[in-house]
C-alpha cells in the first residue's frame, strides 16, 4: 500500500536525533521572499526556544528542493502560494472543507490549508503545477481537456490532485468509487457529472499510458 510505503519512507528520513532540526543553524530568521509573513517585527523575533524547530527549511516540492523561511505557524498552502509562487493551489475555505488546496504528500491527498509546512519536511509535495511533464499533460489534465471539465474551475486544481491521488489508490474505479474518493472536494458550480466523466476518462487514459 502506498500509505504504508509513505510511512516507511518517512521513518527512513528521520535520524536518531531527539528533535528534528532544520538544516540551518539557530538564529537564521532572515526572510526569503515571503509576501505573507515578511516579519513585521511584532512576531518575527520570537526566539526559537530550546528544542524547538528552526525556521529555515528545505522542502521537496514537485521534485525540486526549495529552501524557504517558514514561520512555525504557517500552513503549507500559504507557503506554496506566498513564498514559492505556486498559486495553483487555491484557498477556498482555509478550513479543510472544500478541497481547493488539495496537494499530494508522498502521493497521498491532503488539505494544504490544514497542515503546517514544518510538518511536511522530508515528504514529497506535489501540486498542480508539477503535473505537466515536458509539455505533456498528465492523464488527469488531458482528461479535463477531453471532457471540457469544470466551469469556474477554482476547484479544478484541487479536484485534479484528488484525481491523481485516486488513480494511485484505485486505477480502475467505478463511478461510485471515484465519487467517494473525490468526496473531499467541493464544486459550487455543481459540475459533478462532468467531473466524474473526467475522472473516469483520466483512469482510462492513465491505464492506456501505463
Amino acid at each position: 500500500m502506498l500509505q504504508t510505503e509513505a510511512i516507511q519512507a518517512r521513518r527512513g528520513g528521520f535520524t536518531r536525533r531527539k528533535f528534528i532540526k532544520g538544516v540551518v543553524a539557530a538564529g537564521a530568521t532572515a526572510s526569503v521572499s515571503g509576501y505573507l509573513f515578511r516579519g513585521s517585527g511584532v512576531f518575527a523575533p520570537m526566539l526559537t526556544a530550546q528544542g524547538a524547530v528552526e525556521r529555515l527549511i528545505t522542502l521537496n516540492v514537485n521534485g525540486q528542493q526549495r529552501r524557504v523561511d517558514v514561520p512555525k505557524y504557517e500552513t503549507l498552502a500559504m507557503t506554496l502560494r506566498y513564498q514559492l509562487g505556486l498559486t495553483g493551489t487555491k484557498l477556498g475555505c482555509d478550513r479543510a472543507e472544500c478541497g481547493a488546496c488539495t496537494v499530494l504528500l508522498d502521493g497521498v491527498t491532503h488539505y494544504g490549508c490544514s497542515i503546517l509546512t514544518h510538518s511536511v519536511r522530508g515528504r514529497a509535495v506535489a501540486t498542480i503545477e508539477g503535473l505537466e511533464q515536458d509539455g505533456q499533460l498528465h492523464p488527469v489534465q488531458q482528461a479535463v481537456m477531453d471532457e471540457g471539465g469544470f466551469q469556474c474551475a477554482f476547484c479544478a486544481p484541487g479536484f485534479a490532485m484528488s484525481m491523481v491521488g485516486m488513480l494511485e489508490k484505485n486505477p480502475n474505479p467505478t463511478r461510485e468509487e471515484a465519487a467517494v474518493l473525490l468526496s473531499g472536494n467541493l464544486c459550487r458550480c455543481g459540475d459533478y457529472d462532468k467531473i466524474l466523466n473526467t475522472a473516469m476518462r483520466a483512469a482510462e487514459l492513465s491505464r492506456s499510458r501505463a
Partner: protein
C-alpha cells in the same frame, strides 16, 4: 467549408490554464511592495459606532494604515451599502480595514482596536418587524419605499392573532397586483389547495471568495478582482474609488464562481482601492470564507401562503399568493420576480399577488441564480402535485395543461414570449425519464425505503438586448473576438463568440478570444447576469460578425474590383463567388485594412456604439481590420427558458434520509450552442437547487442575532455524494425566432427545477404529504413520519 461552429462541443480556450494552475484568479496576483489588509467586522447585528481607538494598533510595528468608513467616496447610508460602515446592519458587516506588512500583523492590529458600539434593536424574522412595536432593521424603517428612501409597514396585532402560529399573517400588503377576478376563479374551481410555504435564505458561497488587490500607477487604479462581467465592473470600481472610468484598469480574467453575487464586482473592492492610494502601497485584501459568509451575498428568503384553484380538467383557474420577503439590510427584488415567474409556469386564469419585502439585520441579499424564480417554483410545485392528486390528473399532464404555448403571456402586463416550447420540453422529459413507468413506482416500499417520484417545471428570464460586439482580424489572420463580458465559468466567454465565426464561416481554431482585462480594449457589454449572456451577447457578436462580413466584402471589392455583393467569406478568406482563388486571406485583409485605415481599421465607428466601445476601438485603431457593431436586432417579447427536472428518490422511513436514484432534465433554451456545456450548466443548476431543497441553510441565534452557518459544513452546500452520479439531460433545441442565433440563456431556470423535483419526489414518497418548505431535512421528515412534534414552526426559516 468550416465546420459548423454552433452546436458542437469545444474545449474552452482557457481550460489548459485552468487545469495547469496557471490561470490566475484575483488572489493569485502579486505586485512589488504588496501589503495586506484585514477587516474589522461588526460583532453585533445592528449597532452604531460611538468611538474607535486605533492607537494600540497604529503603534504596532508593521501597521501601515487604517481605513475608516468616512474616507470612502461611496458612503453607507440608509439603503445604500458602503464597503465599510459606522452603522452596521448585520453581524459581520465591515467597519474598518487595517493595512500591514503581513496578514498576521494586520490580524493582530485589528484585535488591538477598541470600538465602542451602541447596540441598536435588531430583527432577524420579517414577521417580527411587521408587528406593531416590533424591531426595525434600520433606524427609521423596515421597507424600501423606493428611490433609496425607507418606509415602514406594521400590521395590527389582530392580523397575527387571526393567523395563529402556523399560517402566514396577511396584513395590508406593500405590493399587490391582480389579474382577472380571483374570487370568481376560486368559485369556478373544483379543487382548491392552500398551504403555508417557506423558503430559506441561502448564501451564494462561490468557491472563490471576493478577494481583491489594488495598486495605483500614474494616477490609474489597477484592480484585480473577481467579477461576473468585466467591462461593466469598471464603472462601479471607478465610482467606488472616486475616479473616472478611464482611470481604472480592471483585471478579472477568471472568476471562481458568482451565481449572481459578483454581477459587477463587489462593494468591498473599494477597500484595497482606496487604502492603497492612502498608504501608497499595493494592497491585497484576501477575503476569507468566514468573511465571504457575511459579505458574499445571499438569496432572499420567503415566508408565504398560496392558494390554488383548479377545474376538474386540471386547468388552473385561480392563484392567490402572499409572500413576505426577507430582504436583508439593503433590499432584494426577488419578491417582484416571484409572482411573474409563477405566471410563466401556470398561466392562471385569475391571479392575485400580494407581498411585503421586509428589511432584516442579516447578511445582504442579491440576485442568486433565478432570484425569486427558484423559490416560487420550489414552493408552488408541491401544491400543484397536491391538486393533481385530488383531481386524479397525472402530474406531468397537469403541468402541460397549464404551461404556456407560443401565445402564452407573462406577468401582470401579460407580455408575449419570444418562444415557448414548454410542452415539448415536458414531453421530452417524460420520455427521457420514462415518466409513465416511473410514476408506477410511487410509494413502493423496499425494506425501510419508500420510492417517490416527482418533477418540477421552472421558467426564468433568459435574455435581453445585447450591447456591442467588437472584432479584429489581425495580420496573424485570426479573428480576435474582444469580449466585454466576464469569464465566470459558463464557457460563454467562448461560446458567445461562435456566432461571429459562424457568420464568417470560420473554423474555431482561427478564433482568439480577448477578455478579462479592460486595458485590452473591451467593448461595452451586457452585465453577465440574468441568464442574458448567451442570448444577448450572441446577438452582439452576430451583429459584429455581420459588420465584419460587410467590411471584408467592401475591402475586397475596393482592392480587387467588383461590388461587395460579389464576394463571399469562408475558411479565413474573402473571395469572389464561385472562384476561391480570386480573393485574399484574412491576414492579407488585415494588412490592407491597416494600410487603408479609416473605417476598415477603427478610424470611423458607428455612431450608435457605447462610448466605452468607441474608446476600445480607438485604442485598437490601426491594428487590423476592425468591426464593431451594436445589437440592433428587434425584440419579440420576453425571452424565457424553461427547464423540467424529474427525480426518483428513496426515503428511508426509519431515518428520514433521502437518496436520489435517478434524475433527468430537459430544457427549451432555443438553439443549443454548446451541448456539453449546456448539460453541465443545467445539471449544475439542478444540483444547486437540490442543495437548497436538501439542506443548505442559515441558522442564527435568535437572542444574539449571530449566524452559526459560517462554514461549509454548517451551511451545507451539496457535495459529490449528495447528488446522483449520472444525471441525464436533453434539450428541445428549437431556435428562438427573435434572435439571429436562436439561443436563449440557461443559467437560472434549472435551479428551481431541481429543487422542485426533489421536494415533489419527497412529498410523493410521503404519500403526497407536502411539508411545503425548504430545506427539507431528515429530522423534519422523520418527525413527520413518526408523528412527533415538528422540530420547527411552519413559518420558521433560519433553521
Amino acid at each position: 467549408m468550416a465546420e459548423n461552429v454552433i452546436g458542437t462541443d469545444i474545449s474552452p480556450p482557457d481550460l489548459r490554464a485552468k487545469i495547469t494552475g496557471r490561470a490566475r484568479y484575483a488572489e493569485d496576483f502579486r505586485a512589488e511592495g504588496m501589503v495586506f489588509a484585514k477587516l474589522l467586522l461588526s460583532p453585533m447585528p445592528h449597532a452604531r459606532v460611538r468611538s474607535v481607538d486605533t492607537s494600540a494598533a497604529e503603534a504596532m510595528e508593521g501597521v501601515l494604515g487604517i481605513l475608516r468608513a468616512d474616507e470612502l467616496p461611496v458612503q453607507s447610508e440608509g439603503l445604500r451599502e458602503g464597503a465599510l460602515t459606522d452603522e452596521p446592519k448585520y453581524e459581520g458587516e465591515p467597519i474598518l480595514a487595517v493595512a500591514a506588512v503581513d496578514e498576521t500583523t494586520a490580524a493582530a492590529a485589528v484585535e488591538a482596536i477598541r470600538v465602542d458600539f451602541e447596540q441598536l434593536p435588531f430583527v432577524l424574522d420579517p414577521l417580527e418587524s411587521l408587528r406593531e412595536g416590533g424591531p426595525d432593521a434600520h433606524v427609521g424603517g423596515n421597507i424600501s419605499a423606493g428611490r433609496g428612501e425607507l418606509g415602514s409597514v406594521k400590521w395590527p396585532a389582530s392580523v397575527f392573532e387571526e393567523a395563529g402560529a402556523d399560517r402566514l399573517p396577511m396584513g395590508e400588503p406593500a405590493t399587490e397586483w391582480t389579474l382577472g377576478d380571483i374570487d370568481a376563479g376560486f368559485d369556478e374551481a373544483d379543487v382548491v389547495v392552500e398551504e403555508t410555504i417557506v423558503h430559506q435564505s441561502v448564501t451564494h458561497h462561490p468557491m472563490e471568495p471576493r478577494s481583491c488587490m489594488a495598486y495605483w500607477q500614474n494616477g490609474k487604479l489597477f484592480l484585480h478582482g473577481s467579477t461576473q462581467s468585466t467591462e461593466r465592473t469598471r464603472g462601479g470600481v471607478a465610482r467606488m474609488a472616486g475616479v473616472e472610468s478611464e482611470d481604472v484598469v480592471f483585471i478579472g480574467e477568471y472568476c471562481g464562481g458568482g451565481f449572481g453575487s459578483k454581477i459587477s464586482g463587489a462593494p468591498i473592492m473599494a477597500v484595497p482601492a482606496v487604502l492603497s492610494r492612502k498608504i501608497g502601497r499595493p494592497v491585497m485584501l484576501r477575503i476569507t470564507r468566514y468573511e465571504e459568509n457575511y459579505i458574499g451575498r445571499a438569496r432572499a428568503g420567503f415566508q408565504g401562503w398560496a392558494k390554488m384553484g383548479f377545474r376538474a380538467d386540471g386547468r388552473m383557474t385561480a392563484l392567490d399568493l402572499y409572500l413576505v420577503q426577507d430582504s436583508g439590510p439593503f433590499g432584494a427584488s426577488d419578491l417582484f420576480t416571484a409572482g411573474t415567474v409563477a405566471t410563466a409556469s401556470y398561466q392562471p386564469e385569475n391571479m392575485r399577488f400580494r407581498g411585503a419585502a421586509i428589511l432584516t439585520n442579516t447578511p445582504p441579499r442579491s440576485a442568486q441564480r433565478a432570484p425569486g424564480g427558484a423559490q416560487i417554483v420550489a414552493m408552488l410545485e408541491p401544491l400543484v402535485d397536491k391538486a393533481a392528486r385530488e383531481l386524479d390528473v397525472d402530474r406531468l399532464e397537469i403541468r402541460k395543461i397549464n404551461a404556456p404555448g407560443h401565445d402564452g403571456w407573462l406577468g401582470p402586463q401579460q407580455g408575449q414570449f419570444t418562444s415557448a416550447y414548454v410542452r415539448e420540453a415536458l414531453d421530452l422529459g417524460g420520455e427521457l425519464f420514462n415518466w409513465e413507468e416511473k410514476r408506477q413506482l410511487s410509494g413502493q416500499r423496499n425494506g425501510t425505503k419508500v420510492t417517490g417520484v416527482g418533477m418540477g417545471l421552472s421558467p426564468f428570464t433568459a435574455g435581453s438586448a445585447g450591447r456591442d460586439g467588437l472584432l479584429v482580424i489581425r495580420p496573424d489572420g485570426k479573428l480576435h473576438v474582444h469580449q466585454g463580458i466576464g469569464n465566470l465559468g459558463t464557457h460563454s466567454i467562448a461560446d458567445t463568440a461562435r456566432p461571429a465565426a459562424d457568420v464568417l464561416d470560420l473554423s474555431w481554431d482561427q478564433v482568439e478570444i480577448v477578455w478579462g482585462d479592460t486595458s485590452k480594449h473591451l467593448p461595452f457589454s451586457t452585465v453577465q447576469a440574468g441568464s442574458q449572456t448567451t442570448h444577448a451577447h450572441t446577438r452582439a457578436n452576430h451583429a459584429a460578425g455581420t459588420a465584419m462580413l460587410g467590411l471584408l466584402q467592401e475591402l475586397a471589392a475596393r482592392e480587387l474590383g467588383g461590388s461587395p455583393a460579389d464576394y463571399r467569406v469562408a475558411d479565413g478568406r474573402v473571395f469572389r463567388a464561385g472562384n476561391r482563388a480570386a480573393g485574399m486571406d484574412f491576414a492579407e485583409a488585415a494588412r490592407r485594412a491597416i494600410a487603408i485605415g479609416g473605417k476598415f481599421s477603427g478610424g470611423v465607428v458607428p455612431e450608435d456604439l457605447n462610448d466605452a466601445t468607441k474608446a476600445a476601438v480607438a485604442g485598437l485603431a490601426g491594428e487590423g481590420l476592425i468591426a464593431a457593431a451594436r445589437d440592433n436586432y428587434s425584440r419579440g417579447g420576453s425571452v424565457y427558458t424553461w427547464v423540467a427536472t424529474f427525480a426518483q428518490v428513496e426515503l428511508d422511513v426509519e431515518t428520514g434520509e433521502v437518496e436520489i436514484i435517478d434524475l433527468a432534465s430537459t430544457t427549451d433554451c432555443g438553439t443549443v450552442m454548446h451541448p456539453r456545456s449546456l448539460a453541465a450548466q443545467t445539471n449544475g443548476g439542478v444540483f444547486q437547487g437540490i442543495g437548497m431543497a436538501k439542506g443548505q441553510r442559515w441558522v442564527f441565534d435568535p437572542k444574539w442575532g449571530i449566524p452559526f452557518t459560517k462554514r461549509f459544513y454548517t451551511a451545507r452546500p451539496p457535495g459529490i455524494l449528495d447528488v446522483p452520479l449520472s444525471p441525464r439531460f436533453a434539450a428541445v433545441n428549437e431556435p428562438d425566432p427573435h434572435t439571429p442565433v436562436g439561443a436563449k440563456g440557461i443559467g437560472e431556470p434549472p435551479v428551481g427545477a431541481g429543487e422542485a423535483a426533489y421536494v415533489c419526489a419527497v412529498a410523493d414518497a410521503m404519500g403526497g404529504l407536502c411539508l411545503c418548505r425548504t430545506p427539507l431535512t431528515a429530522d423534519m421528515i422523520l418527525a413527520e413520519l413518526e408523528g412527533r412534534p415538528r422540530p420547527y414552526g411552519l413559518l420558521e426559516t433560519h433553521v
